[in-house]
Symmetry: C2
Amino acid sequence: MQTLCTAAQLRTCLAPVRRAGQSIGLVPTMGCFHQGHLALMREARRQEGVVVVSLFVNPTQFGPQDDLARYPRDPEGDARAAAGVGVDVLFTPSEQEMYGPADSTWVTVTGTLVEGLCGPHRPGHFRGVATVVCKLFGLVQPDRAYFGEKDYQQLQVIRHMTADLKLPIEIVPVPTVREADGLAMSSRNAYLDPQERAAAPILYRALQAARQAVEHRERMGRGIVARASEIIAQEPRLKLQYLELVDADTLAPLPRLDRPGVLAVAAYLGTTRLIDNIRLDPGKKSE
Amino acid sequence: MQTLCTAAQLRTCLAPVRRAGQSIGLVPTMGCFHQGHLALMREARRQEGVVVVSLFVNPTQFGPQDDLARYPRDPEGDARAAAGVGVDVLFTPSEQEMYGPADSTWVTVTGTLVEGLCGPHRPGHFRGVATVVCKLFGLVQPDRAYFGEKDYQQLQVIRHMTADLKLPIEIVPVPTVREADGLAMSSRNAYLDPQERAAAPILYRALQAARQAVEHRERMGRGIVARASEIIAQEPRLKLQYLELVDADTLAPLPRLDRPGVLAVAAYLGTTRLIDNIRLDPGKKSE
């Protein structure tokens, strides 16, 4: 595995790969790799000639109240883990490499994709995500890029941005990887103290209860959300931020599950913000 | 010359070009070709294996008060002219082809690049330009793209956008082409009645007078602008919108010509808005 820090090194490294007709897969990350990241890398390894993993804690996607300063970092462990799953290139640019001093360009996604869920709670977050991913796409020019379904709103923002800007890149979604008790893997899980960690799986149990309600023919958004709310209310440590049923494509609110939906939740456990989501399908019974 | 209307046709056409290692040059236009457009195409023809000209009157760069509805169009004449200078592909997409119904992505350039000159007078204009050019870059993936220096602010917005988004595309500036009397070629010149047309060259004469002042060692921005203003004041038909001396790279106001500058002007003749600019260099005498 090569570890590269500059755009120039990366271009020099990838030019012959492209000329040789090998496919390039990109896995954009902020590091501190867990099994969720490794699942993205393994899927890329399965599909691509060359796998590039970028590791960049992108400051523009953190708000002033966010956890940029304490965001977990483990560069040595990350390099070992990436090499262990067969990554070819680990790209670890500096902030100066990604944002020049005269940098003045933003990529923004508007409308329902960012109006709900994390959008109102993290102003500027998706602008930062879309901008840095666009830069990484420009640098790497991958054939495919891999994103986890755990950050579902991010996945949809990137999918729409890529289509809208006519970028010749396929976005590959990879299912959320969970701990044995159902907690979605996240770098931020490292912040949880033992009691918070014990309480955290209730988020996924709540989402599963909602899915059961759908299997029992509940189709009203309010009813589906209420079922999950009941479960979450059982854990006083959890401070709910949002719990919303949205259209799986546009992320517009879904009053009735008459098309594929996603039930998404964000909640605080102490100072740690956790998110999770589950796909809900009306199936044939609802017709 | 092939004329193509869809993104799919364009990709199918360009994939073997790219595989064969031929270079691709893009000339983005809004059509109604004059000698300025043809100079861009000839320069592209000189440098590239394959020359793609896009012809798309981009609605998102026109404001509600702008001339979208009456913008001059001449598709047959354009096709003949492009074929005449050896263009390989004329890409004429529909609005639906460039902006899908769920389109929600904008590319914006911020700061000094858009705070002066046309920026305040055409809100949203450069957002529309940056977005559509980004889409065309995604579709065509050119090695180089050609822009006229006559739209100098647009040129700088595109240059910075391309660098900021790490797009592997070289932006090639092409000098303004002028009529014999100095009027910068523009599709909008067709709007001018005979008296307005006779008055129009004073803009360039004013810019030249400013250059002479610099050659006579004027270095103060105020003095340089005043020299051009005097000339423009001689033509009562001209309604000045702005006349500004700016840094040639950042477009920040330049109180003193201590680095390369651009003197840019916008003025109305009747209902027709004309722009022009001239590069001013302090030279060695000022040091």
